[in-house]
Each structure stands twice: as structure tokens, then as C-alpha cells.
Amino acid sequence: MQPIIDLKGITKEYIMGTQVVRALRGVDIEIHQNEYVAIMGPSGSGKSTLMNLIGCLDTPTAGTYLFDNVSVENMTDDELAEIRNQKIGFVFQTFNLLPRADALHNVELPLIYSGLAAGERRTRALEALDSVGLGDRVDHKPNELSGGQRQRVAIARALVNNPSIILADEPTGNLDTTTGEEIMAVLEILFQQGNAIILVTHEEYIAEHANRIVRILDGIIGSDEKVERRRHANGVTAAQSADQV
């Protein structure tokens, strides 16, 4: 089976004045459609940089990147935007919701840039919000929602356009343990439904939800191994959401 993500010799350098920061120093990684990958590593090791590259938000300094067998390096900004829109769902640590828009509109956003008509957009956004257990909060603005609810809106936004892969950069980093567990339960359902997931975390027990853990150190992959007995998140919300799906 072709990997959906195929990185070879990826480096990323930032120039800070006279100094060169080498955030990634030659990363090779393949990820397949049926995988749930956790990326771990200490702060500053290059996890976010890697995620942003995978998510086509950023471009590497060197190396090759095939997304779904298509080379990404020479794409224009707009072509990358198209990929982010169609194929990738991003979940950020800080949620990154539009503060003045309600939950529904936030979730509709990717569909707007896909050129979907209002009616269908609404239907699909409502479905997505339902699937993360927020069917009754669609007209709430982000500041009217709890942290966990905001992150679930962000997840709904990530999955609404049926992406090939969901990228979550420390999605539970700003949440308490219980709420974090709820978010993991939502991701669990998405994984069960066949979505590939890449999750950045530095918490061991969160990483154990994945079926593969990649450890990164100073911009280089230190270890890459299968999880023998993965942890299944099954919070209350997960059960509810499972019913609704």
C-alpha cells in the first residue's frame, strides 16, 4: 500500500539574524492511511515544525515530500491551500477558532473555501458538530464555550471536509486531564472510522492511544515503534458520540 505521507531527508532551517536554527535535520518517515501516529519529544525538538510541514502550512528547506504520491515541494501557495482544504484537517493546541464567529460558522469555514453552497455546507457542518457531541452548541461563539468544547469545535472543523489525514498538535495541551480524555475519545472514534491521525504530545499516556510512536530529538527521529497494547479512549462523550454516529 502506498503511504499517504512520505518524507525523505527533510530539513528545515530558520535564519535568526546571523544564526541558523536547524529545526529538522534529515527526517524520513512514511505514514499510511490506517495509522494513528503519536509524535513525541521534548520541547523545541522540532515536533511542530514537522507537523506544519506535513500539514502543508510550511515548506521544507530540503528533502522530498510526497503527499498521496504527489510531490509538494514545488507547489504554489494556492495549490498548498487547496491541499490543506481538501486533504488535511488540522487541530491546534490553541484551538485557533475565529473569535467572532459561532461554532457552526467556524466549522463551515473549510467548506466555504471549497466552494460549497450554503445549504449543503450547513448540513455537513451540523453533522460534524453532532459527531463531536456539540449538536446543541452550534450558535455559541468560542468565548461562550469551555476549553474542551472549543477543541471539539476545532476537531469538527478538521473533519468536516473528509480529509485524508487529521493532524493534531498537542490537542490536549491546554486542557485538564478529564477534558483531554474526552478529546482523545473523539479522536478515537475518528480513527475507528478510518481516518489517519498524527498526534503530537509529550505525555506518555496520551501517546499510548496511538498504534505507533515516533520519538524525535533535536530535529532527528530517535525511535519509531509500534505500540503493543494501545490504550482505547472511552470517555462518556465517546460513548455518546458513538451512539450518534
Partner: protein, 411 residues
């Protein structure tokens, strides 16, 4: 397909623009101040000029294109007043002689004017302009009554108290009842109504609602004969107008005994002179308006550019979010262009409202008429939105070019 997609994206741009504007209403309105001032100036001045233009054209039309007005003073006095002050009146005798001697006009008449209160029963109209004409005045000025008749040569010769009412005066006094044969008071004198003028402007350019025509010699008898006579000459056509003028000038100089080489001590006026004056006045007003408008639109445009740059900076994070979910350059570009156009259009709309308000206010206070023409309103909108479009390009391009990661990282 492309179009529907564009419309969908445009709708989001508009919605986003309004969301952003609502969040900063006061700032938005302050931003538009320059544009408001510019558009207000354009709309109010254009409205007033248009209103004036219509009245002047209508009033001046009443003077007749092919009629010359020989009088003591010129209508438009560019030189100093003292030059004219010592001129001698044009007497009835001089007028009669000129009218005897001219050969070229189609018709020629004499005219004097005064103003008086006119009463019928308990109704009164103040400051009515009373015009005294000779019978030929009917031909010279097309004074054909709508109701009743003009006065006869005999009535004029016998200095009878007969009067033809202006249409507005008739309605004021009689509520459109039959006035013929009614006795009305003009000052202390009793007159018999013999006619009513039609609605539109043959009343020497005077306000119709307050004017009336009586025989010239009746006026001189009742209201005083020490007044300068106006002599009105109607040419057959525009071509013969200069010939009529030359003849009248020569005869007048002879009649008034002006030595060879000396200046005229009378004036020959034409409708065209008033129109020329009006045209140069409006041109000046237009120039002022264009100046004020372009300056304030420029200031307004720079204000908008500035506030849009602030808006882009404030919303860098939002731009990052939109890009991260797939917004393309053009989406971000449009969003900020729409915002800038909406802000400036809003300023334009406020300006149009204020401009029409100003024009109405001025016309209410000064009784100058004002009409806001549709083209001026559209021009105001087009102008203000183009300013927004033009000055919005740089900030919008800046927003569209932001790097998604950098944008997301900003606070």
C-alpha cells in the same frame, strides 16, 4: 461553476467584513470621516447647483431668447456702482420716440414695475410684483392669458384699472375660482380682473405666485411717474438680434443726445447675459466642489488605508486560521478589499444623507430650490467605493501575502 464559487466566497468576504466592522463601529465611522466630508460636499453642492440651474433656466426662459431689454442699468454690473448712479432715467417720452423710430424688431414695448399688496375680500398677498406694460408687451413677451384676455389698446390709452393675475397669485387669492370681473385692491386702488396668466413662466422671470400685469400708464398714474422705463424689443430671430441691438443703440444715443465718442448712458440686456453669468458662477462652484471633494477623498482614502493596515495587523491570526483551512490568496485579498469598500461605501452613504440634508436645509433657509439628482447620488457611491477599492489594495495584498505559519503564530 466558477461564478457560483466566487459568489460563495464573496459572501463570506462580505459577512467577515461586516463582522469586523460591527466589532469596531466607532472606529469605522471615524475612519470614514474624510469620505463623508467629500461626498457631503459633492452631493450638497450638486443638489444646489441643479436646483438653481432648473430655476434659473425656467425663469430666464421667461425673458425670451430673442428679446432685448433696453434699460438704465445693466443687469450685471461688473464695474462700480457709481458709474451708473448718475444716469438719467429713461423717460416715457424717450421710450415713445425709440418705439416710433425702430424698424427692425418684430415688436417693441415699454415696461415699468413696482410692488404692492394685493387684496381680494379677506385674502391678501404681500409684495406682489406689479408690471406695467404697453399693449405690445403681449407680443414681445408672449403674454397670452390662460383665462380671460389681455388689456386692449383702448384700455391702455384710457389708463383703466384692469389687471391680469399671475397663475400663482390667482390661486392664492381665488383658490382657482373664476376671478373674471372681480374687484381686487392693489395698494389703495381698485382693479378689475380681466385675465389669468398660464402656469409657466412668461412673467418676466418674476415669481409667478406674486406677480400681475396692468397697463403701463395706469401704473405711472397710480404709483408715480418718476421712474425709468424699460424698453423691450423682440427680434424675429436670433440672427437679426445684433442688428436690432445696433439700431436700438444708435437711436437711443441720438434720443438721449450722447456726443460722439462718449459712453452709452443706458444698457442693452439679453437673456444670454444672465445665463453666461450663471454659467460662470456654477463653474466656479463646481471647481470649489471638485477641490474640496478630491482633497477630502484623498485624506479619506489614506485614512482607510491606514485603518485597513491596522485591521490586517490586528487580524493576522484570523488570516492564519483562514489560510490553514484552505483560504487562497484571492480569498484573503477579497475579504479585505470588501471590508475597505464597505467602510468607504458606508462613508459615502452617510455623506449622501448629509449632503441631501444640507441641500434641503439650505433650500429651506434661503428658499433656493435643491434637487439631488440620481447621478450625483450614484457618483457619490461610485467615488467613495472606488476610493475604498484603490486604497484597500495595498493592505489587502499585504494580508493575502502573509505566511500562514507566521500569521498563526502572531498574537
Amino acid at each position: 461553476m466558477r461564478l457560483t464559487r466566487f459568489l460563495i466566497e464573496l459572501r463570506e468576504s462580505i459577512a467577515a467584513a461586516f463582522r469586523a466592522l460591527r466589532a469596531n463601529i466607532l472606529r469605522t465611522i471615524l475612519t470614514t470621516l474624510g469620505i463623508v466630508v467629500g461626498v457631503t460636499a459633492v452631493i450638497s453642492i450638486v443638489s444646489l447647483i441643479q436646483g438653481l440651474d432648473r430655476t434659473v433656466k425656467r425663469e430666464v426662459a421667461g425673458l425670451g431668447t430673442n428679446v432685448l431689454y433696453v434699460s438704465k442699468y445693466p443687469w450685471i454690473q461688473m464695474d462700480d456702482f457709481w458709474k451708473f448712479r448718475n444716469r438719467k432715467d429713461i423717460t416715457l417720452e424717450q421710450g415713445r420716440r425709440l418705439l416710433e423710430l425702430v424698424t427692425l424688431p418684430e415688436a417693441a414695448s415699454m415696461q415699468v414695475g413696482t410692488s404692492s399688496t394685493v387684496k381680494w375680500r379677506e385674502r391678501a398677498a404681500r409684495s406682489v410684483s406689479i408690471e406695467g406694460h404697453t399693449p405690445e408687451g403681449r407680443i414681445v413677451h408672449d403674454l397670452d392669458p390662460e383665462i380671460g384676455r389681455f388689456f386692449t389698446v383702448a384700455e391702455a390709452r384710457d389708463k383703466r384699472n384692469v389687471i391680469i393675475l399671475g397663475n400663482g397669485l390667482w390661486r392664492d387669492l381665488f383658490d382657482e375660482r373664476d376671478p373674471l370681473g372681480q374687484r381686487i385692491r392693489v395698494g389703495r386702488n381698485v382693479f378689475t380682473v380681466i385675465g389669468v396668466m398660464p402656469e409657466q413662466g412668461t412673467m418676466m422671470g418674476m415669481d409667478q405666485s406674486a406677480s400681475a400685469v396692468i397697463p403701463l400708464e395706469t401704473l405711472m398714474k397710480l404709483f408715480g411717474s418718476r421712474r425709468s422705463i424699460g424698453l423691450n424689443l423682440r427680434a424675429y430671430d436670433a440672427e437679426s438680434l445684433p442688428l436690432v441691438e445696433d439700431e436700438a443703440r444708435g437711436l437711443m444715443r441720438r434720443i438721449r443726445g450722447i456726443p460722439f465718442g462718449a459712453e452709452d448712458d443706458f444698457a442693452i440686456n439679453r437673456q444670454e447675459m444672465l445665463l453666461d453669468l450663471f454659467r460662470s458662477l456654477t463653474a466656479a462652484l463646481f471647481a470649489v466642489m471638485v477641490g474640496v471633494a478630491s482633497l477630502s477623498l484623498l485624506v479619506g482614502g489614506i485614512g482607510i488605508m491606514n485603518i485597513m493596515l491596522v485591521s490586517v495587523t490586528e487580524r493576522t491570526r484570523e488570516i492564519g486560521i483562514r489560510k490553514s483551512v484552505g483560504a487562497k490568496r484571492r480569498n484573503i485579498m477579497w475579504q479585505f478589499l470588501v471590508e475597505s469598500v464597505v467602510v468607504s461605501g458606508l462613508g459615502g452613504a452617510i455623506g449622501i444623507g448629509l449632503g441631501i440634508g444640507t441641500a434641503l436645509l439650505v433650500s429651506a433657509v434661503t428658499s433656493l430650490p435643491a434637487t439631488a439628482p440620481l447621478w450625483a447620488v450614484l457618483l457619490g457611491l461610485v467615488f467613495s467605493t472606488s476610493v475604498g477599492l484603490f486604497f484597500g489594495i495595498y493592505p489587502a495584498a499585504k494580508a493575502a501575502g502573509l505566511d500562514p505559519i507566521e500569521a498563526l503564530r502572531s498574537e
